[in-house]
């Protein structure tokens, strides 16, 4: 199977809602990075984690290497959160593998 499985592939939220994205890994990864793709297609780094949990404003990310997953939680979704989100995980072989992306649409 895919080394990085990202879910859901698409997500629709109303403003103010909370939700989460998840990446599952088929093998042990040593770090994970979460991105938001901006309107020009450029990836903006949201989080880089080697372990544990980080928070930044309305966003929180957790990486559990042992359990082979990472999550990105969005709280109080805003219209500007709309876009595509990617996780990218670095294996112990130093190879980086990307998830397939989650398209988030936030509506009024």
């Amino acid at each position: 199977g895919m080394p990085v499985e990202q879910n859901p592939p698409a997500l629709s939220l109303y403003e103010g809602a909370d939700s989460g994205l998840r990446c599952n890994f088929s093998t042990t990864m040593k770090s994970v990075q979460w991105f938001q793709q901006n309107h020009r297609g450029r990836l903006i780094t949201l989080f880089y984690l080697a372990q544990g949990t980080k928070e930044n404003g309305r966003l929180k990310s957790t990486f559990n290497s042992k359990e082979r997953y990472s999550t990105l939680h969005i709280k109080d979704a805003q219209l500007e959160d709309s876009g595509t989100y990617f996780c990218a995980a670095e294996a112990n072989t130093d190879k980086v593998v990307f998830g397939t992306g989650t398209r988030l649409q936030v509506s009024p």
Partner: protein, 115 residues
Amino acid sequence: GPKVLQIPSHQIIDMGQMVTLNCDPVSNHLYFYWYKQILGQQMEFLVNFYNGKVMEKSKLFKDQFSVERPDGSYFTLKIQPTALEDSAVYFCASSPDRGGQNTLYFGAGTRLSVL
């Protein structure tokens, strides 16, 4: 699914030499990107490219860097001359159109080792 191919997967060169990293993007895609990841650090945006032109570049995209896609073939990143700090994995990506709702497709990366 669609694939972005990067050639070679690993390149070793001496400092001061020129290197060209090749990317074969998805065939009908129009936007192209390079990202750089130093070992153990997060991936950083370098440049995006459309219709033969650089659209946006970061401060990591030094004067020694250049990109082109001659005759719709490979999308290339050239570094001339190389420096030790250029050692990293370089990822190419392409997308069919610009915009936050369009999926980027990434290559597997080229590991550049500058000695």
